[in-house]
Symmetry: C2
Subunit: 113 residues, 2 copies
């Protein structure tokens, strides 16, 4: 049982979402440790607003990170430690992934829909 | 072990994403059956492009559905069977949820990043 990080506490829109859908390979192979380090690193980047993440027992997962601007996303993508993790993601950790960058325009919470 | 529906096969952007992050209450209470029916119903709506979904053992999950337009999302939100499920979601199935509507502007697959 993993502990989820809770709901991202984002500001009023507009802001940006990076939607990362992925299917893990079998075996950990350093994934869990690196994922933890990379999330901590992301959280210290300028413009990072929060993150939601879930992965089922079948290995399919979605991580959505929220950012103030496209520039913040671009800077994070080019971060050297993150680049190293991206390479390992492609070669080792993910069977497949898809990444989408989207501009959040509207939000509803449980009490307001 | 649940079978994930695979990666949504979406067209070139722009299109829209509905990012639904939720924490389930304990117990099924009709959730699994209704979720299946509602997904099948969503898939038949005009403008539906696909869906990715993951939920961890801790009950925290993310479902992202993709749509051609804000109008398609609005029509689906107002669908009567979906409205009934939304009510049960609030009163029974979710401890908490957050919903964001976002315009997908850029995409990267595993081979192109």
């Amino acid at each position: 049982m993993t502990i989820h990080p809770g709901f991202a506490n984002t500001p009023e829109p507009p802001y940006y979402a990076v939607i990362f859908s992925s299917l893990r390979t079998s075996g950990d192979d350093g994934y869990a440790d690196t994922a933890k380090v990379i999330l901590e690193l992301a959280a210290r980047q300028p413009g990072f607003l929060g993150e939601d993440s879930a992965r089922g027992e079948d290995g399919f997962g979605i991580t959505v990170s929220y950012w103030q601007s496209l520039e913040a996303i671009s800077n994070w993508k080019a971060n050297s430690e993150h680049l190293a993790a991206q390479r390992l993601g492609k070669t080792r950790w993910y069977e497949h992934f898809e990444l989408r960058i989207a501009k959040v325009e509207q939000t509803y919470g449980m009490s307001s829909t």
